[in-house]
Amino acid sequence: MSAPPSDGAEASWLRRRREDAAAALPALGVLLLASPVVDAFAGLGVLGPVPFGFLYLFLAWAGLILLTARVSLRLSAED
């Protein structure tokens, strides 16, 4: 992480970066959940009783949820 905002310019840069992150999240979501990436993991077979595809799908989904929570909580805290 970069240094804490020391002045207005730094704070507004951080803010813009968070907004960009918020806009980029669905693109990352499409890449992880609605692209051939899914197949790359589904093709790995099973891990114990659980298929890899199932595991990957839900873990990627949960990861995106955490990421969104982080970004949007910060964004809304600034408003």
Binding site: E19, A22, A23, L25, P26, L28, G29, V30, L33, A34, S35, P36, V37, V38, D39, A42, G43, V46, P49, V50, P51, G53, F54, L57, F58, W61, A62, L64, I65, L66, T68, A69, S72, L73, L75, S76, D79
Partner: protein, 893 residues
């Protein structure tokens, strides 16, 4: 113990009563203005879960049993939209609030110039797509009711009757809580509270069944079909479900219309995907347990119920039934409310306005409420009829997907409207019509089998035109009919929308609305002046007719207060007309509100020329006000300068008065003495020669002192005014010091004071006027001699160099000068204590300081521990400059 029909009916009725009670409680709280709990981000998120219908609840398991992970796509699509809330949902909510949008049809109509045609088109499309969806919920309810009551071989009541009862009950609930009044914002706290409760029940039920399955079967192997997961169908399902979360009337209702604060979105952005993840977590285990546990040929769409039943868990099955019941009822209630709002605002009100062309005739409020209630009943009838028509047909999921594909035809016009200034009404209408036609031809009509299209047409296209075969348009070989239909309908829709938009022009109102929508986040709201004229009385009457007298009175009082008028009615300007239109739009939709206001407002057609002229006028006014601002700033600055100058003058005048009184006092003392001795000499002839000589000496001394004093005053005034002529040259410091030493020799001898000269004065050169410099040193030495009385009465001179200046310190060993007098000594006529010494009028130090400053140096009093130390600083001269021969002395002091 089997669940009997009366028992299940009783449970259903009890649960429904609970929901009624929750809704009524929330409505009461809303009326009392206590909405903190209902207007929380949590309830908002839970209400969005109306997305998870009975299709989700039962159908997802069925889909998982048939095609593995595919079911997850239906949840991933909406999750992606919520991950991107910052881009799309935030804008929708912002616009929804600013423009008082009441439905998805209203949004599209409002964006494209408040077009009634688009409102009607979207409303009809939504009706067409939602009817099968509502039928689907009735089917789920009926099937689940059947499954529970026949689990031990008992007989279920006829399905048609069960479905009819459900339809009637749901219609009642929707009418009761959805159309109680005309809300200014189309919000329904009662309904929202009830569906939030249902959201918790359905999630709890599915999690309970899932956990039970995992524990009871100790985790069955999750065997999956080994086909690839990411297929065209996966992409299509993700896309359709993402579209549905914004375009479906009920989703638009809960996400945009019922949203009470934009920041709730930030919570829903992660909380709603979490809800979806949880609700789909156990879908696959339940499906696989069902396949293992239940006999071949069981309906996988009912595994959620039948799996617990097969383990003898009737309580759990009942819980699952209530979960499905919740999912179906919340969907139907919100859907019918949203659809009825659309029908009344875009179809019923325009018809009513046609029938009542004069502004004041008829009770529009009652008409709106009646039309909404009727609409709910009619929509429910359609749903029921569709259910009867297709009973037992395809799986639940395919009906839902058909609806999704239909409503997705709004998407190009919606996204274009939000992000593209150039999207036009004509483009939107033609795009939607194209998409609708292709969707009906390729998906909707074929779903009825050979009922509407002949077998030949289905197989080979109409009249043998194979290019137009419903499931293979233009000879395409996409095998999945859903993917085929979505691909063709949406791509043709988008192409036509863009092409026609580029070929057509926008009306001024459309341009204004396009700006308001696309630039929703700009800081200056796009406001368009429409030049309409109406009286405040007419506007009030109109608002009262639709909003009710109390709301209208409050609205007008608020506007009057904002305008600052003392009158009861605000001034009827363009702002008032706009405000009234916006409030009305919150109740009857933007197109109808615009039409209503048009009935009483004259003018309103505004040309581009007029707009340009008004823009010019505005620009002129802005420029003028800028000029005024600049001028007032200049005036302010001048006034401030004058104030400072005045203060300075006042201070100077006071100083001058003090100086004059001091001067007269100083002159008076020697004059008195001179006069006194002169009088003695004149009046007493017998004064002896010795006395006479003494008196004459005193008179002479005193007049000398007077002359010196006057000289000093003149000198000081010349120095202070900066008119002093200085003969600056390179001067050896030694010369000046020696001259001063010899000038003060007599004085020093009289007092018995020794002068300690610096040893190194020989080489130091300064830039100065030698006479003036010597005058300053003489002054300082005289002062030291006069005041430095002590047991060790010596005066020391020392030289040093500081920051390019030569510093000469004159130090005595006297009592020193107290700190509070340090600056005081440089004031005119200042004397320390009562020590008044002959020959000094107290001008020596001020003159010396003026000279030092005129020479580019300074004279200061340096704080010391004992005695006084005056430091004279003079600029140093470069050694290269040869010293000039020193001329005669002209000491003043």
């Amino acid at each position: 113990m089997a669940l009997t029909v009366p028992g299940l009916v009783a449970v259903s009725v009890l649960y429904a009563t609970l929901l009624f009670w929750v809704a009524a409680w929330a409505e009461r709280r809303a009326e009392a203005g206590q909405l903190t709990w209902i207007r929380s981000p949590l309830v908002y998120t839970l209400s969005i879960s109306v997305y998870c219908t009975a299709w989700t609840f039962y159908g997802a398991v069925g889909s998982a049993a048939r095609s593995g992970l595919e079911f997850a796509a239906i949840y991933i699509g909406p999750s992606l939209v919520f991950f991107g809330w910052w881009v799309l949902l935030r804008k929708l909510v912002r616009i929804g609030r600013a423009e008082r949008i009441t439905s998805i049809a209203d949004l599209i109509s409002s964006r494209y110039g408040k077009s009634s045609a688009l409102g009607v088109l979207v409303t009809l499309l939504a009706l067409l797509a939602s009817t099968p969806y509502i039928a689907l919920q009735l089917q789920s309810l009926t099937l689940s009711f059947d499954a529970l009551t026949t689990s031990d071989g008992g007989a279920a009541p006829p399905r048609t009757l069960t479905a009819l009862s459900f339809a009637a009950g749901l219609a009642l609930f929707a009418i009761f809580f959805g159309t109680r009044r005309i809300d200014a914002n189309e919000r329904h706290p009662g309904v929202v509270a009830a569906i939030a409760v249902e959201a918790v029940v359905k999630l709890g039920a599915l999690l309970a069944v899932g956990l039970f399955v995992v524990v009871a079967t100790s985790g069955p192997p999750l065997a999956l079909p080994s086909e690839p997961v990411f297929t065209p169908r996966w992409a299509t399902l993700t896309f359709l479900s993402a579209t549905a979360i914004i375009c479906l009337p009920r989703m638009f209702q809960v996400v945009v219309v019922e949203n009470s604060a934009e920041r709730h979105l930030a919570t829903a952005a992660w909380a709603f995907p979490t809800y979806l993840l949880l609700i789909s977590l156990f879908v696959l285990p339940i499906a696989l347990a069902g396949a293992v546990q239940l006999p071949e040929g069981s309906n996988p769409d009912l595994y959620v119920l039948t799996v617990p039943l097969s383990f003898g868990q009737e309580g759990l099955a009942l819980f699952a039934y209530l979960g499905g019941f919740s999912a179906a009822t919340s969907m139907v209630v919100v859907s019918t409310i949203a659809l009825s709002t659309m029908v009344s605002n875009h179809i019923a009100v325009p018809i009513w306005l046609r029938l009542h062309p004069t502004p004041s005739s008829g009770d529009l409020r009652a008409a709106i409420l009646t039309s909404r209630r009727t609409a709910i009943a009619v929509i429910m009838c359609f749903g029921y009829l569709y259910f009867l028509q297709t009973q037992g047909a395809s799986g639940l999921a395919s009906i839902g997907l058909r609806a999704f594909a239909g409503i997705a035809q709004i998407l190009p016009a919606l996204l274009g409207g939000l992000f593209w200034h150039g999207a036009t009404r004509a483009g939107a209408i033609s795009g939607i019509l194209t998409g609708l036609a292709v969707w009906m031809w390729t998906l909707f009509l074929p779903s009825f089998g050979a009922q509407f299209l002949s077998v030949d047409t289905l197989a080979d296209g109409p009249w043998g035109l194979s290019m137009l075969t419903p499931t293979a348009l233009f000879g395409s070989t996409i095998t999945d009919p859903l993917v085929h239909s979505v691909y063709w309908s949406l791509s043709l829709n988008t192409a036509v929308f863009v092409a026609v938009s580029m070929l057509s022009r926008q009306s001024p109102l459309e341009q204004a609305q396009a700006r308001a929508f696309v630039d929703a986040f700009s800081t200056t709201p796009a406001r368009v002046y429409q030049g309409r004229i109406a009286t405040a009385e007419d506007l009030y009457a109109l608002a009262a007719r639709i909003l009710g007298p109390e709301t209208a009175r409050r609205l007008f009082a608020r506007i009057a207060k904002a305008q600052g008028t003392a009158k009861q009615l605000p001034d009827a300007n363009d702002d008032l007309i706009l405000a009234v239109e916006r409030e009305l739009a919150g109740s009857v939709g933007s197109a109808s509100a615009h039409a209503l206001v048009a009935q009483i407002a004259k003018g309103g057609q505004i040309s581009v020329d007029q707009m340009i002229r008004m823009a010019d006028e505005t620009a002129q006014i802005v420029e003028y006000s800028h000029r005024l601002e600049r001028q007032s700033k200049v005036l302010e600055r001048t006034a401030a300068e004058l104030r400072t100058a005045n203060a300075r003058l006042t201070a100077l005048s006071a100083q001058k008065d003090a100086f004059l009184s001091q001067v007269s006092h100083e002159l008076r003392t020697p004059m008195t003495s001179i006069r006194a001795f002169a009088e003695i000499l004149r009046d007493h002839g017998d004064v002896n020669a010795g006395d006479a000589q003494r008196f004459l000496t005193i008179i002479h001394d005193e007049s000398q002192r007077l002359t010196r004093l006057l000289d000093e005053i003149l000198d000081l005034s010349v120095l202070e005014s900066g008119r002093a002529r200085l003969d600056i040259d390179t001067v050896p410091m030694r010369a000046a010091i020696e001259r001063a030493a010899s000038a003060t020799e007599g004085l020093r001898h009289a007092q018995g004071i020794r002068l300690e000269l610096p040893d190194d004065a020989g080489e130091v050169l300064v830039r100065a006027d030698i006479n003036r410099l010597a005058q300053v040193i003489i002054n300082l030495i005289s002062n030291a001699v006069k005041y430095g009385t002590s047991t060790d009465p010596n005066v020391a001179l020392s030289l040093s160099e500081r920051e390019g200046l030569i510093a000469l310190d004159v130090i005595d060993r006297g009592p020193g000068i107290p700190e509070e007098h340090r600056e005081h000594v440089f004031e005119k006529f200042a004397r320390l204590g009562e020590m008044t010494l002959a020959g000094s009028a107290g001008l020596g130090l001020p003159i010396s300081r003026q000279i030092a400053r005129a020479l580019g140096g300074d004279l200061v009093l340096v704080p010391t521990e004992k005695g006084a130390c005056f430091r004279l600083t003079i600029p140093r001269a470069e050694a290269a400059e040869a010293p000039r021969a020193v001329g005669g002395s002209r000491g003043l002091a």
